[in-house]
């Protein structure tokens, strides 16, 4: 550890260098911290960086990270100045995780709360089994995104891959570009004033100023899979 500085709002961040520390030591240091700004150096694609945080920290990671970065995040703000591997912000509970590059598959999977912002593209299964978190992607997302998503919102400024929202419950999806295909029981829905309003809020929170809510389409559950249809009895 280097660059220790007195606590103040303008204090420079304290640096944690992964060429000197193990990921376990790094995460232990972040888990002990109660506040402050932290910089993680030399991440070189290591897994589980800044996972399990539960304090109002600001953590900036200087490079590309591996799997499960900022997993289970609570209250902390984590910014990755690079790309990230599988499962970034998986099961995020609250706080904010921002990725300046691209995200691999299962970004924000099963997140319960908080906000995940991806400045680049996200690969397959973005927001799979989402349970209440919000995900805003400036680029495009891959196939099978929002599979079985239960609550929360997914905003995509680019395009969405095949089978979007397959078997979706009550999550809401907003896509500005093309959708390669909708999954089972996912349908396009009317954009009502409350949707334009929440979309404007999400875009603002994500710091995206060059996209207008009216340019987006909304997708969600047709709710045809919620109850057994007796006419389908012959199928079983």
């Amino acid at each position: 550890m280097s660059g220790a500085a007195p606590d103040s709002t303008a204090a420079p961040s304290r640096a944690l260098d992964l060429s000197q520390l193990s990921v376990r030591e790094l995460n232990a240091a972040l888990h002990e911290a109660e506040d402050g700004r932290w910089e993680v150096l030399d991440p070189v694609g290591k897994h589980a960086i800044a996972a399990g945080l539960d304090a109002e920290l600001e953590v900036e990671i200087a490079g590309n990270v591996g799997y499960y970065c900022a997993g289970m995040n609570k209250r902390a703000t984590v910014r990755v100045k690079g790309n990230c591997g599988v499962g970034v912000a998986e099961n995020i509970m609250s706080g904010k995780v921002a990725i300046e590059g691209d995200a691999s598959q299962a970004a924000g999977a099963s997140g319960h709360g908080g906000l995940l912002v991806i400045e680049g593209n996200a690969a397959a299964r973005c927001g799979i089994s989402l349970k209440g978190a919000d995900i805003v992607v400036r680029g495009s997302i891959g196939h099978m995104s929002a599979f079985m998503a239960q609550r929360g919102r997914i905003v995509v400024c680019g395009d969405a891959g095949a089978a979007l929202g397959d078997s979706i419950y009550e999550a809401r999806i907003y896509v500005r570009g093309e959708v390669a295909g909708l999954g089972a029981d996912c349908v396009a829905k009317e954009m009502r004033p409350e949707h334009l309003e929440e979309l404007a809020e999400l875009l603002a929170e994500a710091g995206i100023e060059d996209a207008q809510p009216a340019e987006f389409s909304r997708y969600g559950s047709a709710r045809r899979l919620y109850n057994f249809n007796v006419d389908d009895a012959g199928e079983y």
Partner: protein, 314 residues
């Protein structure tokens, strides 16, 4: 030889893949060291076996190189004498205890067929003018040291670290698999229709050494290429004919190609800079390469063939 008898129906459920294609002389000189660093970084994904196909030192026109593996290290001198008597040996070099690199003054097909017929206890890991495949059921770190990989130079290389989940760990079940002269395959994933496909390919005259699903994928490519398909066409055929999960990297004399199945459960990440193009199961393997921090990094799209070098197959 033991490995021929081993029933090895392992899938490659986890496993690590690495590959690098040099775009500069400096990168060619240090290719082995780069491949070694990537391979060791992927040890967590596959500690059971390791292997590398490295393309280097082309044999003169009309000559060929064979990488041979034998369970019986004591018999090497006899084997080399037999090959010399049969087709001639220009140079023979023992690599570790069980492996040997043999240069013959005849074409690769003739040399391969001769060894296959006359020395049934010797396994042919690779045959061609340029390719050398080394693989063994040892950890990636041990592999790198036993084969002095870091000291090799070459134009491109593919490597594999294997985590066997369902079956025995044997040299024959290790990757890369030869898919023809100067061709090889590494695979991360598992195939579910490999038994039926193996039977079909056997009827087409393709031989098998193991019960391994990845060997079936390699044999499928061999068969398609033999039928005259381009490498790209053969890989696109995989999308139709193979059922299962895969990230494939295929090496040819000139370069390599990458394909992920349409579901893409198995990871892959690629990067390119002025000195090299590389693929790995995880970014951290790419991060071992010089210039990785500034390289363009992307995830290959599902069902899309990516290729580097002139991958047309003669």
């Amino acid at each position: 030889m033991g490995s021929r008898l081993d029933a090895c129906h392992a899938d490659a459920a986890m496993c690590g893949i690495v590959g690098i294609y040099a775009k500069s002389d400096a990168c060619e000189r240090h290719l082995g060291a780069h491949a070694a660093a990537m391979l060791v970084e992927m040890a967590d994904r596959g500690p059971d076996s390791a292997g590398v196909a490295i393309y280097r030192d082309p044999a003169p026109g009309g000559h060929s190189k064979l990488c041979l593996q034998s369970a019986d290290s004591a018999g090497w001198d006899d084997a080399v004498t037999a090959i010399d008597t049969g087709i001639g040996v220009v140079e023979a070099r023992r690599v570790g205890e069980r492996h040997a690199l043999v240069e013959t003054p005849v074409g690769a097909e003739e040399a391969r067929d001769w060894v296959e017929r006359e020395l049934p206890d010797v396994a042919i890991d690779s045959a061609g003018r340029i390719i050398e495949i080394y693989k063994d059921a040892i950890s990636p770190a041990e592999f790198v040291s036993r084969f002095s990989l870091a000291e090799m130079s070459g134009t491109h290389a593919l490597g594999h670290t294997r985590m066997a989940t369902e079956s025995r760990v044997t040299p024959a079940g290790s990757h890369p698999f030869s898919t023809g002269l100067d061709l090889c395959l590494v695979h991360n994933g598992s195939l579910s229709n490999h038994n039926r496909l193996r039977d079909e390919l056997r009827r087409e005259g393709i031989g098998f050494r193991t019960r391994n699903d990845s060997e079936v994928a390699a044999a499928y490519l061999t068969w398609r290429l033999r039928q005259g398909a381009t490498l790209e066409g053969a890989l696109e055929g995989c999308l139709e004919d193979l059922d299962g999960f895969y990230t494939f990297a295929v090496g040819t004399a000139e370069g390599f190609a990458v394909l992920r199945d349409p579901i893409s459960c198995k990871p892959a990440v690629m990067a390119e800079c002025d000195d090299w193009v590389a693929i790995a199961s995880e970014y951290r393997a790419l991060a071992t390469l010089p210039g990785a921090a500034d390289a363009e990094v992307w995830e290959p799209e599902p069902g899309v063939v990516y290729s580097w070098g002139t991958v047309a197959v003669a």
